[in-house]
């Protein structure tokens, strides 16, 4: 009796938290379904329902291009960060004094990114990568390497070192052992790191707003900000654009939940 009552208490608490977390998204949805006149009446529900915001927003801003840019940058940055971070995490987790590198990486991540904007701008301009998707891939990718290393470090540490030692004794080089014995067990971590860097890069506003200002290179976050400051603010369209931006990402996060949690190494050793 007691335990089932506690279980229900926990369930109710979780439901409340989930609803609280979803309220902003729900309100965004509610806003996106109203005509402009209905937006500022501060009601929770639309008095009039419409889907025109979802079509008109494509005329107001280049939403298609922006979505594409955001996806290209986020996917590219995720791949770049993880390609660099995977061997780096192996080093930080396994090698003598590797944790020093991890500390240094995390320390650099603590600095506010805006301090790097001016040097980054000039570096990218020198490389011809301002207003360029590749430029933002490189910046977001490298900027998020510390997070990816930190995440992967934990995954590497959970793999018993004896598996690598067995692989080396079974005739592989250190690199071969990493590739054939460690990497197959590291996939859940790699996927998790890809997702995290994807989300961080997809949500980036700072780098994008400074380093890519042309219409062709703007990202979704920058596009959404452009609604503000017009004389006539299109809240309904902004909400529609926001929903279109986050929906696929939410779906991705739900689909990949397992990788954000799971681990394959269970049962490898006692």
């Amino acid at each position: 009796m007691n335990t089932s009552r506690r279980l229900w208490a926990v369930r109710i608490a979780l439901a409340v938290i989930a609803i609280a977390a979803l309220i902003p998204v729900g309100y965004l949805l509610s806003l996106s379904l109203r005509p402009p006149d209905d937006v500022l009446n501060s009601r929770l529900w639309p008095t009039e329902w419409t889907l025109t915001n979802f079509t008109k927003v494509f005329d107001t801003i280049a939403l298609g291009t922006m979505l594409r840019n955001s996806w290209v940058i986020a996917v590219g940055a995720a791949l770049l960060a993880v390609v660099i971070a995977t061997p780096a995490a192996y080093f930080t987790a396994r090698r003598y004094r590797g944790e020093r590198l991890l500390t240094a990486l995390l320390a650099s991540y603590c600095a506010p990114p805006i301090v790097a904007i001016i040097p980054l701008f000039f570096l990218l301009r020198y490389a011809g990568l301002t207003n360029n998707l590749l430029g933002l891939v490189v910046v977001n990718g490298i900027a998020n390497v510390p997070v990816a290393v930190w995440l992967l470090d934990g995954f590497v540490r959970r793999i018993p070192v004896e598996i690598e030692e067995a692989a080396v004794i079974d005739g592989l080089s250190v690199v071969g052992a990493f590739r054939k014995a460690v990497l197959p067990l590291l996939w859940p971590g790699v996927v998790a790191a890809l997702l995290v860097v994807f989300f961080l890069s997809y949500n980036d506003f700072l780098f994008a707003v400074y380093l890519a200002v042309t219409k062709e290179s703007q990202t979704l976050t920058v596009g959404l900000s452009l609604f503000q400051g017009d004389r006539n603010v299109q809240f309904g369209q902004q909400a529609a654009a926001g929903l279109l931006g986050i929906a696929p990402v939410y779906v991705l996060a739900l689909a990949a939940q397992r990788y954000l949690v799971g681990g394959l190494a269970t049962g490898a050793t006692k």
Binding site: P160, E162, I163, E165, A166, A167, V168, I169, D170, G171, L172, S173, G176, A181, P184, L185, L264, A265, T266, G267, A268, T269, K270
Partner: protein, 357 residues
């Protein structure tokens, strides 16, 4: 010919010498066991042979090759780990074939040899399973099959049975011994369990604090331990170590007076194994039963005598001849088999030459 030769191996972590000038040769086809308490350097020594650690000084030879600077893959050794270290993403067959595939053996040949190795350890039914679907004992059989599949120059076992339950340990250790003898492959085996060490070793090496205390056959080490450490480490229950003096053919310590066959010595430590303690219940005896345990065919007694506590093991058949089974508090007369005493210098702990009776 010796298959493996270690000369002057030393390894330190910081100021802490883990392995201290260890020289050792493993005769071809023999099984050598390194045994000692935890931290004695036995695993480090094994890992230096494997090439997983490098020695600070000293050399390692395998056969006629100097492999001191060689990587593990160049050494042609196979190793069985305490935690099995199977590749979880591969099937049992894939695990066993792994070393062969790395050596460039064709897939079908490797699969066939993996099957033969699995047969040797009795796991052919498990070939398609994944390691996580196996019990600990089955996993260790897979690891053993993986080690023997390519007939290496040396087998290395690092506490292979320590994660298994007692019954399985006894079963697998005789199986490891059988396989090693069948294949005639030189093996180095590390364990902290002296009973395991005694039962399977051709050559037994007792390590303590990074140094070799003694090596030889299990029989030699048990019968003529070189020092108090070896005397106290081998045997279960452990030997009684009693300090006292020898004067005119008798050993005296607090409450103890035993006839011995040794020269006079002011400070001596006597080691007497529990089975060499002779008991005779006697109301006038100096000892008292303190603990009485029946382990099936034999009794283990703890006897208090003066300040000493002595462990004695007596066959049940012997106890049956006594007036009644002893209970704690009963008086007992304690003597020892004089020819089975081990005498050591109390200061250095080294064995004193035995005088002929």
């Amino acid at each position: 010919m010796s298959a493996v030769e270690l000369v002057g191996i030393t390894k330190s972590y910081g100021d802490n010498a883990v392995v201290d000038d260890v020289s050792l040769s493993l005769p071809d086809g023999s099984l050598t066991v390194l045994v000692g308490p935890s931290g004695c350097g036995k695993s480090t020594t094994l890992r230096i042979v494997a090439g997983l650690e490098s020695a600070d000084s000293g050399t390692v030879h395998i056969g006629d090759r100097d492999v001191t600077a060689a990587t593990p893959r160049q050494r042609d050794v196979a190793m069985v780990f305490q935690n099995y270290a199977l590749y979880p993403q591969l099937s049992v067959a894939g695990n066993i074939a792994f070393p062969l595939r790395n050596a460039g053996v064709a897939k079908d040949v490797a699969a066939q040899r993996a099957r033969e190795a699995a047969e040797r350890v009795g796991i052919t039914k498990l070939l398609d399973r994944k390691p996580r679907q196996l019990s600990g004992g089955q996993q260790q059989r897979v690891a053993i099959a993986r080690a023997l599949v390519r007939t290496p120059s040396v087998f290395l076992f690092d506490e292979p049975l320590s994660n298994l339950d007692a019954k399985l340990r006894v079963e697998l250790r005789s199986e490891i011994r059988r396989l090693q003898q069948e294949l005639g492959i030189t093996a180095l085996y590390v364990t902290h369990d002296q009973e395991e060490a005694m039962t399977i070793a051709d050559q037994l090496v007792v390590l303590n604090a990074g140094r070799i205390e003694q090596r030889g056959t299990p029989h030699d080490l048990y019968r003529t331990p070189a020092n108090t450490f070896v005397a106290g480490f081998l045997g279960s229950p452990t030997a009684n170590l009693v300090s006292g003096r020898i004067d005119g053919g008798s050993f005296t310590a607090d409450g103890i007076r035993w006839d011995v066959t040794g020269p006079d010595q002011a400070a001596v430590t006597v080691a007497v194994r529990p089975e060499d303690v002779l008991l005779r219940p006697d109301a006038g005896g100096a000892g008292r039963f303190e603990l009485v345990e029946l382990l099936g065919p034999r009794y283990v007694f703890i006897i208090a005598i003066g300040e000493q506590r002595l462990t004695a093991v007596v066959e049940d058949a012997e106890v049956a001849r006594w007036a009644r089974p002893p209970v704690p508090g009963d008086a007992v007369e304690v003597t020892v088999r004089p020819d089975r005493l081990h005498l050591f210098d109390e200061g250095s702990g080294t064995r004193l030459p035995a005088a002929k009776p």
